[in-house]
Symmetry: C2
Subunit: 226 residues, 2 copies
DNA sequence: CCTTGTGAATCGTTTCACAGCC
DNA sequence: GGCTGTGAAACGATTCACAAGG
């Protein structure tokens, strides 16, 4: 079936973990398609995504039924179905705020464009950084943020500023109409109703690792190096 | 009782979400301490971490009991308790593999050192990149990876290589003794038993955002209790 | 045979509610 | 009175198991 977006469909709440797995499945489907495979089973998708076939089928079942019993899924059909589900059937404009190390790296990150995300501007408050060329972009003064958001109408802001500046910038960009923010500052942020913020917190990821190592040594039966 | 590592206690499994919140609490406690506050309640911690006071107390209860009824927690004591829980009571050596945009940015990221993570090497397979200075480090040839891991004994590898190279490098560094990996390549990786891998997948984060925006527009509304 | 799609059962996490203590 | 610590209840996600259909 291909009517996964039946009109008037009332979508129940979808878990973040489900959406994250769909993103993984899509990546695998693209590889699989490039290698010339035509169909794929939930079990193969599961092996790649580090999950189970039942989980794959359950994830997809929230949005429709895309496979054929006894056959599996048609790779190309499932790819475009997941693209549609994730909202990748269109292109998205992204503005990066903060042209430090991370912001500058992201401005040049190819992963954005290959997925339909177009970086349309990068901003910084530091006069020394303004005018720096990054790929086809130039760092703009952050005083131009509101007017540029009004003009370019980006959907997403990627925040790469120091923690102490982050909340002020959330307030400014949401005031200018932004409703989706990806936050690289390692501080929790508050946004008005209707604005989605996702955090990428490298410090937390590292600490989850060190927690894991530390606990292994304390609790499990692994040998300790002298 | 302050002994969150009671002897003979076999540590039950701690949820990743709990560890992530502990990391947030710690950040808030550091701020709070710097501002001269001496005590803090679970409710205050909860407000910062975007959770509930019961959740804060439950998170801490897995490790011991750190507060005083009627009083709350002593900021400094709770800080050092959480540091100990997360394994931050020591310093950690980190090796970065891949000196592209992201790897180079991370090599210069101050967030590492302020938390006790010391970057001791950065490696790349591209001859053009070898010798590039980054802060106090120089990009080394990835052929030196195994011998340097044996010599420097880093605990953590941060992987910033293209997806197609990532699995090979996991195999190499785990073979050389690494047991914790932070993966920035947007591909799932397999590692032997006893090795922890955490993934930071920017593409997935962006797609969770676009899924959210797309679904909102489709008319999913959330009723809030007054 | 084969594999999907899905209600039911299981498992894990969060929230509730209150006893215990300052 | 105020706040922690914690079993019990509620909730949500994953896994099971099987009917349905190529």
């Amino acid at each position: 079936m291909n009517d996964f977006t039946s009109p008037g469909d009332h979508v129940k709440h979808i878990a973040e973990s489900t959406v994250r797995r769909l993103s993984l499945y899509l990546r695998f489907l693209e590889d699989h398609d490039a290698q010339g495979h035509v169909t794929i089973s939930s079990g193969e998708l599961a092996k790649f995504g580090g999950t189970t076939s039942a989980q794959v089928r359950k994830d997809l079942s929230f949005f429709g039924s895309f496979g054929k019993r006894g056959m599996g899924y048609t790779v190309k059909d499932l790819m475009s179905a997941i693209r549609e589900i994730l909202g990748l059937g269109r292109s998205w404009s992204v503005v990066i705020v903060g042209a430090g190390k991370i912001g500058a790296a992201l401005a040049q990150y190819r992963g954005f464009s290959t997925r339909g995300f177009k970086v349309v501007g990068i901003y910084d408050a530091d006069p020394a950084k303004i005018g720096t060329p990054l790929n086809s972009l130039t760092v703009c003064p952050d005083s131009a943020l509101e007017s540029d958001i009004a003009r370019l109408k980006p959907e997403i802001v990627v925040l790469c500023v120091p923690p102490e500046a982050a909340q002020t910038l959330v307030d400014r960009v949401t005031g200018a109409g932004i409703r989706a923010i990806l936050n690289f500052a390692s501080v929790p942020l508050q946004a008005p109703e209707g604005v989605t913020i996702r955090a990428v917190n490298m410090a937390a990821e590292l600490e989850i690792l060190t927690f894991g190592i530390t606990n292994e040594l304390n609790g499990l039966d692994e040998d300790v190096e002298p």
